[in-house]
């Protein structure tokens, strides 16, 4: 049972977090919010954007503000799964030789999988278990990951040569996908100012603990949502399927596969987290709208025609949003 004090503590924690992140990161409100939503929903985030936009800094700031363990994995084509999850190594102690598990970088609270699409699918899939089950299995042993746990992956949308597109199963495991946009002029000026003057950027000190994060997660889970809105979310997800009666013409024309049930879960939990961050006592239609595209865009699989014509999933989702009535 969530008490008034728990609610107040959770709200205060995330207000402090936003302030701490805002002290380092210039702009990128949507990205910061997406990261916090994923953190509250026990999810992972895919950040897509060109290099140099501050993706890595954002993740490091987030980890620093929460006082959590941070690790960064730079994905390259020759990266092996063991390089991520760890491996058993031979140890010798008191004349006895044996195997001891050496944990990889995946064993942290905040994991940055930088340029995830540069590693081979085999390596990419090494993250699947960690992202969904929050465990890592090496050999016959399964190791739990410490909560709160979040993977923030980045990928470069323009430099696609020598990359390996993520398999659908792995993409589906990202709660949200956020596009990191180029900063505005004012933001750019502020970025250069912070990075070139004084002592440079200092990562914030911890303003929250893991317990605070876990408490906030619990609060978000209990945030009420009207039954009608659940049904609405269900209709939205169904409308992304070309075979559905609810599907608008564009979806039927350009989509091969629609969003999975995991997308509906992501929408509900994401809307709850968004409402929580907005200080609302219940999920609103506006909360669903705020996470709709982030939760569904990367889950649509375009057909050949859609790919050939370069249809943007966001455009299709706009059509879905405008055509599916709330009641």
């Amino acid at each position: 049972m969530i008490t008034e004090q728990d609610l107040e503590r959770a709200v205060t924690t995330f207000e402090r977090l936003r302030e701490a992140i805002g002290g380092v990161i210039v702009g990128h409100d949507a990205i910061v919010r997406a990261s916090l939503i994923a953190l509250l929903c026990r999810g992972n985030v895919m950040l897509e954007g060109v290099p140099g936009l501050g993706k890595t800094l954002l993740v490091r700031t987030l980890a620093g503000a929460m006082g959590l363990r941070f690790s960064r994995i730079q994905f390259t084509p020759d990266l092996m799964p063991a390089d991520i999850v760890g491996t058993d190594i031979i140890t010798e102690e008191d004349g006895h030789r044996g195997f001891a598990f050496s944990a990889g970088p995946v064993f942290a609270n905040v994991v940055l999988a930088d340029e995830i699409n540069r590693a081979t699918p085999k390596t990419q899939s090494a993250l699947l278990e960690a992202m969904e089950e929050r465990t890592v299995t090496v050999g016959a042993n399964t190791y739990p990951l410490e909560e709160p746990y979040i993977v923030l992956a980045t990928q470069n949308p323009i430099e696609m040569e020598g990359t390996y597109p993520l398999p659908e199963a792995q993409i589906d495991r990202f709660l949200l996908k956020a596009n990191v946009t180029f900063p505005s002029l004012d933001e750019l000026v502020e970025i250069t100012s912070r990075n070139t003057e004084g002592e440079g950027i200092e990562l914030p000190s911890a303003v929250a603990t893991a317990d605070d994060i876990l408490l906030a997660r619990n609060v978000v889970r209990q945030l009420p949502i009207a039954e009608g809105l659940r049904a609405y979310i269900g209709r939205l997800v169904l409308a992304t399927h070309p075979t559905s009666e609810l599907a608008p013409p564009k979806i039927r024309d350009y989509v091969e596969y629609g969003a999975s049930p995991r997308a509906a879960i992501a929408l509900v939990t994401g809307a709850k987290a968004h409402a929580f961050l907005e200080g609302e006592p219940n999920v609103r239609h506006a909360d669903i709208e705020a996470v709709f595209k982030m939760a569904l865009a990367h889950r649509l699989v375009l057909n050949f025609r859609g790919e050939a014509e370069g249809i943007a999933p966001a455009e299709l989702l706009d059509d879905v949003w405008s055509r599916v009535p709330v009641v």
């Binding site: 969530i2 728990d6 209990q222 009420p224 039954e227 809105l229 709330v326």
Partner: protein
């Protein structure tokens, strides 16, 4: 009862009302359409009237159906969560109501329930805005109500009188065809084939036809022309009986005599004393002009008033005017034995015509028709021979034409002109009922026309007694041209199968 409970109750009541309205609108629309159709049908059928009980039924059944639909709609159950979400979305309440409903349905106390109840307590709920009447329901209601009002109006209107003639056969007939039909076809009452006199191309009627050849003439046109309200309304009353008409003619004759005597006295004074008209004389002339029924006479009197103070000029005008009186007095004398009356118009074609005499052509406002007539008179005289024999004769069998009858030549000329002119199209029209005591035609034909129903006892003998001499006298008194008079005469000969 909490604020939220009151909201839920208000929303449910509104939903109940809307559900009832939805069903009742549909049923009202569906039921009012046949009601309106029934009312229209009964209104369209001549002399058909709905009994009072059926009138009530026509209006009451849709209302009762709508009421029943409303009751049925109100019995429907509602999903409160769905309704509250509707209200939330429409009023922009941030889904507070539906979320609180969800929390309360799941039971238990939570911090969110407390927050939601606190925020809902501050709301002001407008259920009419939250759950408005759908547009299609409003349309259905308005349409249904309009149909019902329309039905009520048609039910309330008095039953339509039977139409004199309805266009049955739309196939147009030319003038010559019509005349052929008139001349050859035997008359049968149910299939009455009438070409109204106005469609016979003679005189004024010809002018009218040329102006609007597609116009369909009805029997009413004939009678309205017979009534000739313009200029004679004082002397002839539309519904006058033959006896009254005779009395009115006598009165007009007396008036004309008085005027003649008055003018003679003025002439005598002018010859003795010279000079123009005195103010007193002018005043009396105006009074006499007001009493005179004949427009030609009125115009002559008004011309007299316009004369200058020259005594000789006035004397000449008075003599000319008095000579007209003399001619008019001679004509009735000549026709007295045939029961004809006064006011015989003079024309240039008459042997007695003189330029000093005021003529019909000169005095009538319809100079255009006169001009047309004159032009036609200059046309090829062979047309007279080519015209239909019946039209050339202008008579029905058994009728003996008086060679002295005014306008006889004109009538023939005009008929031949009408046949030679571009034939206007006529519509064949059937009379709705038979002649006789049971027919509706009898009540119509006696309006101002000296036509009588037979007094004999033979019910199978459908006929009318037409005193054509009196018709002719009346028409001449009104200054109706001989062409039209002839057309009227032939018309009545046709409908009475030559009898009178």
């Amino acid at each position: 009862m909490t604020q939220f409970t009151r909201f839920v109750r208000a929303v449910e009541q509104r939903a109940t009302t809307l559900a009832g309205l939805r069903i009742s609108a549909a049923t009202l629309l569906l039921a009012s359409i046949p009601a309106l159709a029934a009312a229209l049908v009964f209104y369209a059928v001549p002399n058909a009237s709905l009994p009072l009980i059926w009138q009530i039924c026509v209006l009451a059944v849709p209302l009762l159906t709508a009421l029943l639909g409303n009751l049925l709609g109100r019995m429907a159950k509602h999903d409160a969560a769905h309704l509250l979400l509707q209200v939330d979305v429409r009023l922009g309440l941030g889904e507070r109501l539906s979320s609180l409903y969800e929390v309360r349905v799941r039971g238990g106390r939570s911090v969110f329930r407390t927050h939601l109840e606190a925020s809902v307590a501050e709301l002001r709920l407008d259920t009419k805005r939250g759950l408005p009447v759908p547009r299609r329901v409003r349309w259905a209601l308005n349409l249904g109500a309009a149909f019902l009002v329309g039905a009520a109006v048609f039910v309330a209107l008095p039953p339509r009188a039977p139409a004199v003639a309805s266009p049955v056969d739309a196939a147009p007939l030319s003038a010559s065809q019509s005349l052929d039909t008139i001349g050859d076809a035997p008359f049968t009452a149910p299939d009455l084939d009438i070409t109204p006199p106005a469609t016979l191309d003679t005189g004024e009627a010809a002018t009218v036809v040329r102006e609007s050849p597609s116009e369909q003439f009805r029997l009413e046109d004939v009678f309205s022309e017979l009534r000739g309200t313009e200029g004679t309304s004082q002397s002839i009353v539309g519904d006058a009986t033959p006896d009254e008409l005779s009395r009115l003619i006598d009165e007009q004759r007396e008036t004309a005599e008085m005027i003649r005597e008055f003018l003679e006295s003025i002439l005598e004074r002018v010859r003795k004393e010279g000079g123009g008209l005195t103010d007193d004389e002018r005043e009396q002339i105006r009074d006499q002009a007001g009493q005179a029924g004949d427009p030609q006479l009125v115009e002559s009197l008004m011309d007299l008033l316009d004369e200058s103070e020259d005594g000789e000029g006035i004397a000449e005008t008075l003599e000319s005017l008095l000579s007209t009186f003399d001619l008019e007095n001679q004509a009735p004398d000549a026709n007295e034995s045939e029961g004809q009356s006064q006011a015989i118009p003079l024309r240039q074609s008459d042997p007695d015509w003189s330029p000093e005499m005021p003529t019909m052509e000169g005095s009538r406002p319809e100079d255009e028709s006169s001009a047309t007539q004159e032009q036609a008179e200059e046309a090829d005289p062979e047309n007279d021979e080519e015209a239909d024999p019946l039209a050339r004769e202008g008579l029905s069998p058994g009728h003996e034409e008086d060679p002295d009858m005014e306008g006889g030549d004109d009538a023939q000329d005009a008929e031949s002109r009408g046949l030679d002119a571009e034939s206007p199209e006529f519509s064949r029209e059937d009379a709705p009922s038979a002649f006789g005591e049971s027919g509706d035609f009898s009540s119509f034909i006696t309006e101002g026309v000296p036509v009588e129903l037979p007094t004999w006892d033979d019910p199978d003998r459908d006929a009318l007694i037409v005193d054509f001499d009196r018709i002719q006298s009346i028409l001449q008194t009104r200054g109706v041209s001989e062409d039209v008079i002839d057309a009227v005469r032939r018309y009545f000969e046709l409908i009475t199968e030559g009898g009178s």
